[in-house]
Amino acid sequence: MTTLNEPLYRDDYLNAGYGVKSWFLTLDHKRIAILYLISITFFFFIGGFFAVMLRLELMTPQGDIVTAETYNKLFTMHGIAMIFFFLIPSIPAVLGNFFVPMMIGARDLAFPRLNLFSWYLYNVGGLFTLYTMVTGGIDTGWTFYAPYSSSYTLSDPVPVVVGVFILGFSSILTGINFLVTIHKMRAPGLTWFRLPLFIWASYATSVIQVLGTPVVAIALVLLGFERLTGVGIFDPKLDGDPILFQHLFWFYSHPAVYIMILPSMGVVSEVVTCFARKRIFGYKFMAFAIMGIAVLGFLVWGHHMFISGQSIYAGLVFSALSFLVAIPSAIKVFNWTATLYKGQIEFRTPILYAFGFIGLFTIGGLTGLFLASLATDVHLTDTYFVVAHFHYIMVGGAVMGYLAGIHYWWPKMTGRMYHEGWAKFSALILFVGFNLTFFPQFILGFMGMPRRYYVYPPEYQVLNVMSTAGASILGLGYLIPMIYLLWSLRKPKTAGANPWNSTGLEWTTPSPPLPHNFDEVPEVTHEPYIYEGGSHPHAVPVSDHEAAHE
């Protein structure tokens, strides 16, 4: 903690070194988080560009701006960019990297070099994928289903498969780093049940990354092997089994949804308690629910395969198990609402996004039950209902949580405050734009419009036009934050150490933090969210830090 006797200015992590080398060879988890932020934002806008093209094509029933082949490539590359290169690394690699050490009172992650290495792996994987995107694309769908991908497609999936394989290791290494850090580097007194829920969420996510990702890596290796050597693994013509690919793929890719959503749930828990000025309702239930979702998430993958030729018996089992996931998910939603109940809610930008998350995740989760039921799924499989469902989870849930976190921690990461009015405005239009884009897709899917076609019968046009109109509002809702967040970097670092009066350890450091986070390792003597009853033991007089930055 800064006192008046010390020099008035100390270098924060952003000023601690200058030049390209100080960034590209940095071992500071905070700088690596910023590197990740730049990389994933780049891929977010690439994926967004493909989405714009898709929605433009779907404005009219006939094909107008692209051919059928190009359309197949567009939705494939949209999915690959958004899922593998944006959503999966989004919160863990950016906010987790930055805040997992800070929230447990550590000076860095357990393996700083491994952390930097995983950022490089991410970019190498990204380069392979970009190479394919600019040299002809890939049309297999982001799921790479065999035998189409291994034997029939005219595009070349191998570079992307290699890219996603490499990216997988980046994800595994981040997971291992977090697990070791959370086990071994917690501040004295920070017992498991004093951990902020964001740490629980990061822990559960890491478990999934470490245990799930190797399986998709194996599936992709086998796919590449079959394609390059002609040895039959998945292609029935070569005595392979195509459903085996789906088993291996979804063993990872269903839990991957929880890699996206659990960190968002962690962020929402932080934001809801902070801006409702209340303890989280049912802390232990929240922690167990996170772990429960992570484990149960591994038992349900077959719900993606009800009509694939999987046995009816397995379908029944997977259907029943899928319903179980609803229980911990519901616990979380109810506990957030119970936390908000009678809270003194301060309507700042982060909690607006958290509200968006709670509502949209609930819709996404409940529509998932339609798809987990065997009978309704037969009707809804591969329709726009599925597209709408997972966008409610991934965009309405995961991205809203990511933006809640970015807005909550931006003052800590940069030392600057963004323009509150613009931020609230864009949170609002994101919510409106999102629902206008994706709600009509539920109806379209229910009416029977299949996904992945670039032409459709004219009676579907009105709803498709609504969806495209919504997408343009949604796009604006993503551009505005880019502008005001970047704009805020021109201002002096006056956000103060703890602008929201939060109780987390990360807020006891100056904003932006010093290179080693804490001068003294903090000692923790209490549960995480002591918001009732005015000031809390961690409160650092903001004036100290403002003095430190004059």
């Binding site: 063993f251 993958w301 046995s311 009816i312």
Partner: protein
């Protein structure tokens, strides 16, 4: 902790013996038991590698938990996948 080299040599020798045994058994016709024996030997070999070469034997309970979690998840993968393959009509 430092493991005496002697132990590594013994484990390596055991692995070689099991390897030769695997090949030898393959030449004896035992019907379905060929597979069972081959898989059993493979499991023993893997266990030796994990316990000694990967040092799990000398580590804390936490390491044991994580190492077993990997195998537990492998079992989940096999059991639920077989729930499909074993019940196809």
């Amino acid at each position: 902790m430092i493991v005496p080299k002697k132990i590594y040599y013994r484990v390596a020798l055991a692995l070689l013996v099991l390897f030769i045994l695997t090949i030898a058994v393959a030449f004896v016709h035992l019907g379905p038991f060929n597979v069972y024996i081959a898989v059993t030997i493979a499991v023993i070999k893997a266990t030796l590698v994990v316990l000694y070469f990967m040092h799990v034997r000398y580590h804390t309970r936490l390491t044991w938990i994580f190492a077993s979690a990997g195998f537990l998840w492998l079992i989940i993968l096999f059991v639920l996948t077989l729930a499909d393959y074993a019940t196809r009509s």
